[in-house]
Symmetry: C2
Subunit: 219 residues, 2 copies
DNA sequence: AATAAATTTTAGACAAATCTAAATTTATTC
DNA sequence: GAATAAATTTAGATTTGTCTAAAATTTATT
């Protein structure tokens, strides 16, 4: 099924607002999309007729299975494009959202999958949010970025936030890879850089920028 | 000025149809965009009110200076995205047009310029059409692709069609660069490969694929 | 020059997406 | 348990882009 950009924006908004599986309100979507409550009601009728939401007048609504599946496709596109912009085109992570809000509506499954491949199948976007794979599966956030570990906490590297070639070069040089065990020995408040011990041996310093891109399963 | 995707499609269509500076007809645009003549007339009123076309009822129309400038921005985007798709994401040159027809409407000057930089400022798209630079200037086709030279013709390499890293690697290895003089010694009809003499010395074979991507100023 | 044919424009309608204002339903408060 | 407030839906309009059919204009052909 193909959807208009407007429909996709509503689907995405509802998805984000129902995180916990609860019902979503008309006003919440209106506020989120900076539109009127009346417009939301109009669109809900349409999404209901297209069988993407369960909706009863005045009672609230939520995406059904098909609706969630659709939302994940849009979110996948949004976050892959953000990764491309930051990673490949060197945009700052704070200037990509608007552009990705346009790019997420480009219709071509092949494009998205090729982009994913080109980017090296990143698990998280530049803001740390998980990127659904081509089956709509997202890494649950049982992992945290290294940057969020406290002193003396330890874990194992489980994913790369956004594998640019520059990042991969750095990791190769420092011999860091998926599965590497590490423990935080010190955090310098000046620049948030961390001193970490790797595989109980080597001790070295990691920038905050790098720490944000290393995802960890705590131990 | 910002324009809708529909407006941009009309502007681009008119641009292509007036190549020689002549007036364009309603039916020509209708055929080109697979729409009705009535729709074209409606849109022309709008483009006239936005001062992009000169148009007199029943007499035909053409883009004015501002209209052409706008058209070149859209064409620049279309051809850069095509280059990206073929070059970076490994699409075939015959499967990128539809996707570029969507991508050309993404609004962000910075995105286009960064994409151009990332691609290495290609002069021609994967179909051999010239890509306008950020000032709207296009390489006039006084140069031809090497693939179009006949036997015994000679010239100097003046531009790369689409500088992918794979192409650059090949050129570096063979020591071919901008300014290199060459003459076509032989063309094998079997695969269109060419035997060329470089700087009056080295003799070697070049595939048709490569020849299409080397642009030449004839001598 | 008159008529026929082709082209173009206008008239009127429709779907998508939005809005404001009024009506309806649900939630809160006394 | 009314009365009031808040949230939601409906009614009616508007803009954009499209369509078909009819009218107007230009071009071609007797
Ligand atoms: Mn969007
Ligand atoms: Mn993001
Ligand atoms: Mn287009
Ligand atoms: Mn092209």
């Amino acid at each position: 099924m193909l959807f208009t950009a407007a429909e996709e924006n509503y689907i995405k908004s509802i998805f984000h607002l129902q995180e916990d599986g609860s019902l979503v309100s008309t006003n919440a979507v209106a506020a989120n999309l900076h539109t009127s409550a009346a417009s939301v009601t109009d669109m809900l009728k349409k999404l209901k007729s297209k069988k993407l939401v369960s909706y009863e007048k005045y009672k609230g609504f939520k995406l059904n299975t098909e609706g969630k599946k659709t939302a994940l496709i849009i979110i996948r596109k949004h976050r892959l494009w953000e990764s491309f912009l930051v990673n490949t085109l060197q945009f700052g992570w704070d200037e990509v959202h608007e552009i990705a809000d346009q790019l997420e509506h480009i219709q071509s499954k092949k494009l998205v999958d090729k982009l994913d491949e080109f980017l090296g199948y990143p698990k998280f976007d530049p803001h740390g949010d998980p990127i659904p794979d081509s089956n709509g599966k997202m890494h649950e956030q049982i992992q945290t970025s290294l940057a969020e570990l406290a002193i003396h906490e330890s874990g194992e590297i489980s994913a790369l936030g956004n594998p640019s070639s520059a990042l991969l070069e750095l990791l190769q040089h420092k011999q860091i890879q998926i599965g590497t065990n590490l423990i935080v020995e010190k955090i310098f408040s000046f620049d948030q850089s961390m001193e970490i011990k790797m595989n109980n041996e080597l001790l070295f310093t990691i920038s905050h920028e790098l720490a944000k891109n290393l995802f960890i399963k705590k131990r």
